[in-house]
Structure formats: structure tokens, C-alpha cells
Subunit: 356 residues, 2 copies
């Protein structure tokens, strides 16, 4: 059987503004190295010497990012199997339904590897080993989640509780847990059988179709109709707007994973994973601050991002984020990294919509 | 008798980097309003309804700033009497000698008003009133310094101690004092007869020539020869390089003012004066942070400078300087405002000479 990577790259957030904007969101920006997270994601899944042989990727994104996708795939030397363009965002259950339907129509026995494109994985080999183990589990009739080994009591992620062991690193899922408070997160860490839910799933296309039919039939039927009405031009598929926009917006976790009896987890995977969710997280991964090294004098614990031709100098400061993009400069206390949206709100009030 | 303003605008420092650079130093930049300090200086001396009637200004600067000078004079609607271009910097005694010689050759009875172009004066009327009083004192055979009313125990300026009163706000100078330490500065403030030395002087051209002949004859003769060999093209005079560069580099304070028996001081003048010496000083005077108002969220006591098209956002920070110029960004603790030269040193080491 074949495994079809389906890469989600339609989202855009505010926490990495001004570098990540709605025109060029985080996954398409060279944030932590000289390639984008999207480019790293597709490259990570290419055929390698470890025997893992995945199909060419299926890209699901928003129509407005087609140019970025084509340019970056081309630069990475990757030919996509298909590019599915959503007319609007409808959360991950709709994406999983599209993915299961699209793959099921090509290959009824196919497996789908559904994954975000805006995460960083520092140890791709470890991640690919986890995929190999997950393939066996999924092929036996499971929806497999990838559990990331937690290294801190993070309150920003969901957790997966592992139950009965069914493989070397594979377990029946005992429970999915929403983002915990700090005390609860500490207890998960000490209990030891919890991992972070990275939002990466591997499943047989027909199993996901069946689970959606049981737990979210409206989402499945909406996705079917939207695909039926899709207009294809080579690998690029424009998903029908009227039918797709009517689909209920719900995450795959809420719609299926928390209800199915067929959930498994592979992990905890130690692959140096990061969701690159905030500027300090970018700083933790940076090997370079940009094309021009900043001048740092008596400066401690700062995350600095610049772009071609821009020089940043910092003198006598600490615990700051300094990020420059085009003609926009953000200077922020690291402790406020979750609050960048306040800046976006202020820009909206001023009507500066070209700035975010 | 006529009074000839001689405006010194050849200097360049590092403390207002990256906005002030050797190519476009502080006096030519729109730092605290939408005109430059140089432009404000020449405009402040133009004929007004208060009866103060000064000659057209004589500009003394470095040859590399001729374009800036001509452009900004033109925009201010000011025709210069002359523009004297120094081939290199030789401190203020050489400038005073040039000024006295140049004016003495035009008008042996002329008075010279020698003043820097990179200071801010918030109350020009008060300053012009002080000039009027100083004219009477200078005309009676004095070199008149302008004493600024001190409002804090500043350790960055020299002080003038007032002696015997010789006019409404005019005194014989009892002593010039170099930059004091904090304790000494406090004592000057409490004694009450000290004012800041703003580096502004009014004197008869022939008196300065005589004083230089007594106290620094080498500087005077060097300036005479340099002027003799100067090449004029309309109002622009290129001062001879070989002779001028051989002049001893010494300040007018050391060369003449601390020795002459004919020093007077007018003041203390309360004209909202600032030497605009550091970024926090710029912040104290700013009416605007630049053409695009910054987005400031939970941000306290920051000095922010941006330029056309640049947006600065600050979130959760305090006591910072954030200054953007072209493709260069400085983020600095206000407490380190005297140490910008450390950044320049680092840029020199890297060979980034186009950045300062």
C-alpha cells in the first residue's frame, strides 16, 4: 500500500508578526534557517536511504498562497501529486475529510499522513523512524497520532495519554487531553505516559472516511460535494467555494479523535520538534539572526531577526525580541510574546491593513 | 556696526547613530521636528520684528556637507554671506580665527556671533533678547559667552562662573570651569552664579584677532595663511588644505577664553536650550516620533525615532531608545546612551564603513 503525505499550509497567525503576515505566513518564511518551514516539511518526506518511500505530497492550502507553494516546491525540487486550494479556512476536520476523500478516490487502499507545515523538526531521521512504525499500526486499522516527548510542563499544547502497548513505541490512546493548566501539566510530566499532540496523523483513507461518517457525517458529505465540484488545472485543484464554505469548522481532534475507538499513538518521539509558535521559540532554534549578523553589545537573551540588508544593533538590553521585516520593526519583551495580536488590533484600528 | 553670524556645522558625532552619520550628521537631520537643527539655527537669526538685525550668515563647515548646506539654506529661504569649507576639522580656535579674520577683512568694525548649529533652542525670542544685550557688551570691548540657565547638575557641560555685574544680565567672567563631577555640579547649582557654557560667543573681530595674537598666535597666523590661499567660487570658499590642516587643534575655550581678561558672560539665559547630545535628549524634545506614529502597547519612557514609511511597534518595554534609519535599527537601554560609540567600533571592526 502507498502512503500519501498531505501537507496543511493554509493557516496564518499573528504571533510571529511582522515577519509572518497574512500575505506570507510563518510556514513560507525563512525563520530559523535559509529555507522555510514548508520547504523543510516537504523535503523531510522525500525518499531517503532509510527505505521510507512516501508518495509525492498533496498540498492543502489557501488559494492565495499558490504562488508561494509553487515557488518553494520548485526550489526544493519536489513535484506535488496535487495542490488542493481551499477558498476559505474550515479547520482540520474538513482538511482530514478532503484528504481521506481525495486519496480514497486515487487509491482506496492508500494511507494518509496528515501534517502541518509550520513546525520544526530538528531530527528528521527520528521522525521518519516514527513514521515507519506508525505505518504498521495504521495498516492494521488505526488512526495514529504522533506523540512528541515533552521536555517541559507546556500549557500551550494538547496531550495524549498512552494506554495499552501495541508495538515497540505504539499504544492505544487512553485519552486526548486539552491544553492543561501548569499544575496538571506538571502531573502529566511526572506520570510519564503523556506526550504532546503535534497534530500529525497517519490513517487509512477508508478508515477516516468511516470514522467521519460515524462521528461527523456532515463534514464528510460537505467535503465530498466540494471535491465533486472542484475544478482541476494540472495538479492544482480549486475547491468549490459554495459547498466548502458551508462545512462546519471543527478540529479533527474534536470531530473524530476524541470519539473513535481506533486511535493509537506512536511515541513519545524525540525528534527535536517545535511548533515555532512564538518569537522566543524562534530564538531557541535560530542558527543565524539573518543575513547581516547583528551588533550585540552587553546584550543578553534576545531573539533577533533581520532580513537582507538590514542591520540591527542592540546595546545594554536583555530579554527582548527585535524583529524587522520590510519597513516594520517590532521590539517586545519576551514575556509578552503571546500578546503580539494586541499590535495587530492597533494596526486594524488605524486601517494599516497592508502591515499584517 | 554690523553683526555677522558665523555658524559652525562641520562636526559629526556618534551618539545619535544611526540617524546621525558622518555623511549626514545630526545638525542636518530632522531630529526633533520637521526641519533640521541647522535650518532652525539659521532661521532663528533672520531679521525679525524685535529689531535685531544681523547680517546674512557665514557658514563654516566641512567640504563634504556643501550639498546639504545649500539645499537646507535654500529650503529655509536664507542666502548666506559666505560658505567657508574646511578641508578637515581643526577644532573651534581655528574656526574662531577664520571667523575673526574673514569678518575683519570685510568689515574691520564687525562683530562676530559664533555659534554651533546642532543645538536646540525652544524659545528663540529669549535667545534673541540675550543677543541684543550681548551686542552692547561686546561693542564695549568684550568677548561675550552665552551662559545657559542650568536646570540640573549636568556633568556633561562646562560651566561659567559669573563675577562682577556689568549689565542687566551681563557679568565679567570669574572663571570657566571644565565638566565637573556630580558633587561639584551640585555645588555650582546651589551657589547660583554658574551657568552652562553653550559654546556660543559674540566678539568684535579685531578683539578676537588681538586675543589670538596674544594667546595663540600660531592659530591666528595659520588661519590668515589658509584664508589667503582660499579659492572662492561665488559665496563658496574652499579653504586651503595644506595650510589649514597644519593649524593646531585646540578649542577656543582653552586657547583664548580661559586666558583673556576681556571675557564676559550674558545670562543665565532661559531659552529652553538643549545640546541634543544623546537619544534621551532627543526624546525630551520630540513632538513626533516620525512620519508614521509608532504602535506603543504597555510601553513606558521610550525614545522612538522612525523615518518615512517605517513602522515601529513596541510591546511591554520601557526605558529604551529605538531608532531606525535607512536599513539600520538601534535598540538601546537609555542608560547606555553615552556608549553608542561601542557600536561604531564594532562596525569599524567589521568594515561596515557605509553604516556610520
Amino acid at each position: 500500500m502507498k502512503i500519501y503525505p498531505v501537507i496543511m499550509c493554509g493557516g496564518s497567525g499573528t504571533r510571529l508578526w511582522p515577519v509572518s503576515t497574512s500575505r506570507t505566513p510563518k510556514q513560507f518564511v525563512n525563520l530559523v534557517s535559509d529555507t522555510s518551514l514548508f520547504s523543510q516539511t516537504v523535503t523531510r518526506l522525500a525518499p531517503g536511504s532509510d527505505g521510507l518511500d512516501l508518495a509525492e505530497p498533496i498540498i492543502i492550502s489557501n488559494a492565495r498562497y499558490l504562488d508561494l507553494i509553487e515557488t518553494q516546491l520548485d526550489a526544493a525540487g519536489i513535484s506535488p501529486l496535487a495542490i488542493l486550494l481551499e477558498p476559505c479556512a474550515r479547520n482540520t476536520a474538513a482538511v482530514a475529510a478532503l484528504a481521506a476523500e481525495f486519496v480514497g478516490r486515487i487509491d482506496p487502499d492508500g494511507l494518509v499522513l496528515l501534517l502541518p507545515s509550520d513546525h520544526f523538526i530538528g531530527d528528521p531521521a527520528a521522525f521518519r523512524t516514527a513514521i515507519t512504525e506508525a505505518i504498521a499500526v495504521a495498516d492494521a486499522g488505526r488512526i495514529v497520532a504522533f506523540g512528541i516527548a515533552p521536555d517541559r510542563p507546556e500549557t500551550g499544547f494538547g496531550y495524549i495519554k498512552a494506554g495499552e502497548q501495541i508495538g515497540q513505541s505504539a499504544y492505544i490512546v487512553a485519552a486526548f487531553r486539552e491544553k492543561p493548566n501548569h499544575i496538571t501539566a506538571l502531573s502529566y510530566l511526572s506520570e510519564g505516559n503523556y506526550s504532546w499532540n503535534a497534530g500529525i496523523f497517519l490513517f487509512p483513507a477508508d478508515l477516516m472516511q468511516a470514522e467521519l461518517m460515524t462521528h461527523a457525517p456532515d463534514v464528510l458529505s460537505g467535503a465530498k460535494i466540494a471535491l465533486d465540484l472542484t475544478v482541476a488545472n494540472g495538479p492544482v485543484h480549486q475547491i468549490d467555494e459554495t459547498s466548502f464554505s458551508g462545512i462546519r469548522s471543527i478540529s479533527i481532534d474534536y470531530a473524530v479523535m476524541e470519539h473513535t475507538k481506533n486511535a493509537a499513538v506512536v511515541g513519545p518521539v524525540s525528534c527535536a520538534w517545535s511548533d515555532v509558535g512564538t518569537w522566543p521559540a524562534v530564538g531557541d532554534l535560530q542558527t543565524s539572526s539573518g543575513p547581516v549578523q547583528p551588533v550585540l553589545i552587553d546584550t543578553e537573551n534576545c531573539t533577533i531577526h533581520s532580513e537582507q540588508g538590514t542591520l540591527i544593533a542592540a546595546l545594554g538590553v536583555e530579554d527582548l525580541v527585535i524583529a524587522v521585516h520590510d519597513d516594520t520593526v517590532l521590539v517586545m519583551s519576551k514575556s509578552r510574546a503571546q500578546d503580539v495580536s494586541l499590535v495587530i488590533e492597533a494596526l486594524k484600528v488605524r486601517g494599516l491593513t497592508d502591515k499584517f
